[in-house]
């Protein structure tokens, strides 16, 4: 329910909780039933209400056991019949600094204070041990928040007589216990109250009059944080983040500003915010969180942006990349299918409020921020990726997503993509270079990095001379589809010597990638080779930092090679063995 999604309006929730509960129950979801025992060190009425709301919202229907006021210890240790009958799945021990019985005083010796610490901690371990023996259940224990005042001032945290120091050490003992006991989880009230604002959190009149250990207005936040542990244990964490690119991953618009002018490094203030955000995402991905992209860019522009070495994130950090001009909700649908995850497992981050509004109608959780520091805050405080059982599988899980994505991608290419291309009604107009279009041809040869087999650069003069040498022929192609005109997007240079046709420059604009244009033009070159009586077609690939995209292009066309090194690779095919590849692009040759 939207009103319960982070960041929620706590005051609204407090006022309308009865109505919200009725609405949640009317939703009639399929629930998982869980039994939650709340052991209370202070008043818990509103706390139980909000635990219920947040659990119902994520499909968990709780039945509660609520201990008597401040009977958390007694009902485990001495009068446990009712609890034994209840048989909890989860025990939540709601204690606070108000529940600490023996605190240090200035008269205590060091030994006295150690004794008090042991005594206090043993009360808890005795309870946890007995609970584990009785039920083998999950135990969630609040840690202790900072005290309301510091008698010793700043020394209160460092001096052994300080209450702050005592609480700090008590917390440390609890953390150690948690590290050694897999079923035991700390609810970090100390951190939560600090983020909320300790003075506001502790508003003491609620303790004086109602024995609430925290501000009533903070109860929704408190319960949301607590329930996120339970959600995580019941497999309801988010699994992935889907990101926009321009002004979301980096500052700037790659298609307009150019990849080199994007800002995501510490050189500028604005760049720093994107730097920190990318590092945050990278850390999440190390915990098995799947990062994907749904951005409105030309795919090649996106990759150029990502190739900017100031990025903390690299292409391999993303499982699915959809950089195209389709609707975002459709791209998100495809990402979810590829990764075989429900849409409810994803967060969506986009600086554009219109895109957010579009995605808001899906099951994806939309992060409602405009800039990197807000993205981090909302994701962090939303507790979407609570770590409860970090296993080896979590860390390797990413690899299995990747395999799924690859399989799906293949399928998509072989079945659906083919139809998609057909629907585009692509037409390639092939012409022989005769001096016209020289500006565009030289520009394309000099600008293309990715689909460029030789990466040779020319001035116009050099190019004209080059074509005239060795009986070369240069062909170029202009592409259209039913939506519009791509312009001159492919160039291929050939020469013939001793019945061998050599393919030299072979360059294509990023705009035409994945449209089968390369196959269409190679089919035409095959025609040319046949007409000229050639026996073989030979092509060369010279690797650069940017052209890995076309590393296997000749292989995909049926060519073979004996070169295994990392330098230039020569590929060849018998003309008699060449098979036409293109089935989706209609080819028109000018003058035929």
């Amino acid at each position: 329910m939207k009103s319960l999604n982070y960041p929620f309006d706590s005051q609204y929730l407090i006022k309308h909780k009865t109505k919200i509960r009725q609405e949640l129950i009317c939703e009639n979801k399929t629930y998982t039933f869980i039994k939650v025992a709340v052991l209370a060190g202070s008043t818990v009425n509103h706390i139980v209400d909000f635990i219920e709301l947040f659990l119902l919202d994520c499909g968990l229907k709780p039945e509660f056991y609520i201990s008597g006021f401040n009977q958390y210890y007694e009902e485990v240790m001495f009068e446990s019949q009712r609890l034994e009958q209840f048989k909890p799945d989860i025990v939540f021990i709601h204690t606070s600094s108000r529940n600490i019985l023996s605190k240090p005083t200035i008269k205590d010796t060091k030994e006295h204070i150690e004794e008090k610490l042991d005594m206090e901690f043993e009360r808890y371990t005795a309870m946890w041990t007995k609970l584990k023996e009785m039920f083998n259940c999950i135990i969630i224990q609040n840690n202790f928040e900072r005290p309301m005042y510091q008698i010793m001032g700043n020394s209160d945290i460092s001096n052994i007589h300080g209450e702050s120091n005592f609480i700090y050490r008590l917390n440390g003992l609890m953390y150690k216990y948690s590290q050694d006991n897999g079923h035991f989880y700390i609810h970090d009230v100390d951190g939560l109250s600090a983020r909320y604002g300790l003075e506001r959190w502790q508003e003491p009149k609620y303790w004086y009059y109602y024995k609430y250990a925290l501000n009533i207005n903070a109860i929704p936040e408190f319960c949301y944080s607590l329930v996120s542990i339970i959600k995580s244990l019941y497999g309801k964490n988010k699994r992935g983040i889907i990101l926009d690119a321009d002004n979301t991953l980096w500052k700037g618009i790659v298609g307009e500003d150019g990849a080199n002018n994007l800002k995501m490094s510490t050189d500028t203030g604005i760049g720093y915010s994107f730097y920190e955000w990318q590092h945050y995402l990278k850390k999440l991905s190390q915990y098995g969180i799947v990062l994907s992209v749904a951005s409105k860019n030309n795919e090649c522009d996106f990759f150029e942006g990502l190739a900017n070495t100031s990025n903390a994130l690299e292409a391999k950090d993303f499982e699915c990349i959809y950089a195209n001009w389709n609707r975002k909700d459709e791209n998100i649908e495809k990402i979810a299918q590829e990764l075989q995850l429900g849409k409810e497992h994803f967060l969506f981050v986009d600086d554009n409020p219109t895109e957010r509004a579009l995605v808001m109608h899906t099951d994806v959780t939309v992060i409602d921020g405009n800039k990197p520091e807000e993205f981090i805050k909302y994701i962090n405080n939303g507790h979407y990726f609570e770590v409860t059982q970090l296993t080896k599988e979590d860390v390797v899980r990413k690899q299995s997503y990747k395999a799924n994505a690859d399989r799906q991608k293949q399928q998509r290419q072989h079945i659906h993509y083919h139809d998609f291309l057909r629907d585009l009604e692509l037409t390639l107009n092939i012409q022989t270079f005769d001096g016209t279009n020289i500006d565009r041809i030289v520009q394309l040869l000099n600008k293309s990095n990715q689909f460029n087999l030789l990466t040779q650069r020319y001035t116009q003069q050099e190019f004209i001379l080059h074509v005239q040498e060795n009986n070369r022929r240069c062909y170029f192609g202009e592409l259209k589809d039913r939506f519009g005109d791509y312009g001159l997007i492919v160039i291929i240079m050939v020469s013939v010597d001793k019945r061998i046709l050599y393919v030299e420059d072979f360059v294509m604009s990023c705009r035409a990638i994945k449209k089968n244009v390369e196959f269409a033009i190679m089919d035409y070159i095959y025609q040319v080779a046949k007409e000229k009586g050639c026996k073989k077609i030979v092509g060369t690939y010279i690797p650069t930092a940017r052209n890995a995209l076309v590393k296997d292009i000749y292989k995909s066309m049926g060519f073979t090679s004996k070169d295994l090194n990392n330098g230039p690779i020569t590929w060849e095919i018998e003309v008699s063995k060449y098979k036409n590849m293109n089935q989706t692009v209609q080819t028109i040759v000018k003058g035929q």
Partner: protein
């Protein structure tokens, strides 16, 4: 502008999910399902909506809406 009683009426109806009509003479104890927990929700919501801090001790002594109104008018 809603007057104080109207605003309190709105808060009470939201909290209890009811449609009662109250006036200055209405006693809290006569409201359906009124108990200490509801009363606390009520006090906190009044604080939030009127943007005031209530002296809870005094507020708890108010038996009627009228007495309660006088108590929050001081703030």
């Amino acid at each position: 502008m809603m007057n104080i009683v109207e605003k309190l009426n709105d808060i009470i109806n939201s909290i209890l999910e009811t449609n009662v009509v109250i006036n200055n003479q209405t006693k809290f104890s006569d409201l359906p399902e009124w108990d200490s927990v509801v009363q606390m929700t009520f006090l906190v919501t009044v604080e939030n909506e009127f943007n005031i801090s209530i002296d809870i001790g005094e507020a708890l002594e108010a038996e009627t809406i009228g007495e309660f109104s006088r108590c929050i008018m001081k703030e």
